[in-house]
Amino acid sequence: MTALSRDDVAHVAALARLSLSDEELDRYTGQLQAVLDHAADLEAFDLEGTPATAHPFADRNVVREDTPVACLDRDEVLACAPDEEDHRFSVPRIIGEAP
């Protein structure tokens, strides 16, 4: 298993859209390393030829008849939104310069 660096944690935090203080970076690096160190026990078993399990029961696709049913009420859903405009979710600038 690999040693986790402070830079690795900063990179992962950026991927996960989290901002960490210097103190948090130091703390999380040690704490995450402890979990990865514990996971070294997984290397003791020979996994050659063992398939992965993503779900406890056998994979099967689930389909249903294409019958229209009631969906959530638009206004009730939009009432949960932090910001809405013209019956749509409103968000800050996504591309380009700020207006």
Binding site: R17, Q31, D41, L42, L47, A52, P56, F57
Partner: protein, 473 residues
Amino acid sequence: MTSAVQIASEVRSGQCTARSVTEAALSEVAASDGALHAFLHVDADGALAAADRVDAMVERGEDPGPLAGVPVALKDNLCTRGVPTTAASRILEGWEPPYTATVVDRLGTAGAIAIGKTNLDEFAMGSSTENSAFGPTRNPHDHTRVPGGSSGGSAAAVAAGMVALGLGSDTGGSIRQPAALCGVVGVKPTYGAVSRYGLIAFASSLDQIGPIARTVADAALCLEVIAGHDPMDSTSLREPAPSLTASLADGVDGRTVGLVRELVDGAAPDVVGRVRDAAEALERAGARVIELSVPELRLGLSAYYLIAPAEASSNLARYDGVRYGLRVPADDITAMNVATRTAGFGDEVKRRIMLGTYALSAGYYDAYYGRAQRVRTLMIRAFAAAYEQADLLLGATAPTTAFELGAKTTDPMAMYLSDVFTIPSNLSGEVAVTVPFGAGDDGLPIGVQVLGPARSEPRVFAAAAVLESGAPQ
């Protein structure tokens, strides 16, 4: 408070009213919850209105259902339309879901009365309920101790007699460990037996909703109501709810029970002693107890703490400040996402999101997530081999009795070890029930765990009933 079975029987026959039971539950909450903090939200108006509907049905000669008038507590990661649902996170503070979880609907249809929403570790990530953004819950048996977690609020509410039943969710032990630490019954059903529709997702291949109760019969009655196929959850088993109350008296005569070394090793001596006492109680009831070793179970903790965070990092990507919940304003959308998630998530949730993101990231996927998934296969095969030798397995639920508040908050790995005996059943998707079985040297409750293969709930409940009647007083 009397049992759910008794309350429902009295309300259905008109011996008492749902309103009187509900008022008694609400006054118990008012009296006890200041010290315990089991509830994040008490819905007195909703509860009394539901009770009046049940009483009106009784008056009209209609059957209000098998849980008529039974006060229940709902873990606050179960969505309730128009009632605040927070998952104990700042990022969902003030949110009122536009829909209701299937299990909550089914409880209501069965006549149960939802008293309120209970505290949990944020997004169900934790083993002590101390990771709640709204402050910890305390153990009713000793207010300086944790109730366990993550369903600590529901377990404490049931143990303190504020409600007859609680719902929890169990991803790595989050129903069973707090039930054990609070001295009540907790059930992790077969994966897919209970619909997850409306459960705020943590790790979707592991999450399962189940009952917390003071008696095995109450837990069986509750599970009969909430289980069964739901088209709204594509992982829901396409089968009706199993009949459980009918098989409670089946006993264990002729059953082979495997006492599993890996589900006892590392537990405190008083816990080990109670598990051995439980094995003797099963023997006295006619079971044959054999000792088994299943070495793969030792890998559960490591596999779980890669798989569950990986799934969580994906599930929690939805909290982006766009559609619901918290938004911290910023100039562009990425800055808004970062500011919102940084302010909205607590320490443990951030830790698991980062761990999961790392385990899934390029260069590490095979070494961590991929390996953990293959170990999960080994564990499922090992359980299957054990069930060729035994009908049921027996072990400890938690390594110790309830620990002190703050004892493990600075050492995540020590906290994770609280789940070492419960995690394997989540990885395999199988049944496990914890039953209170006496007390430890400190006088605090100890739970023992009965495990069975997928869909073996009737058999597991029959064994749980034997343990309940054979438990030290």
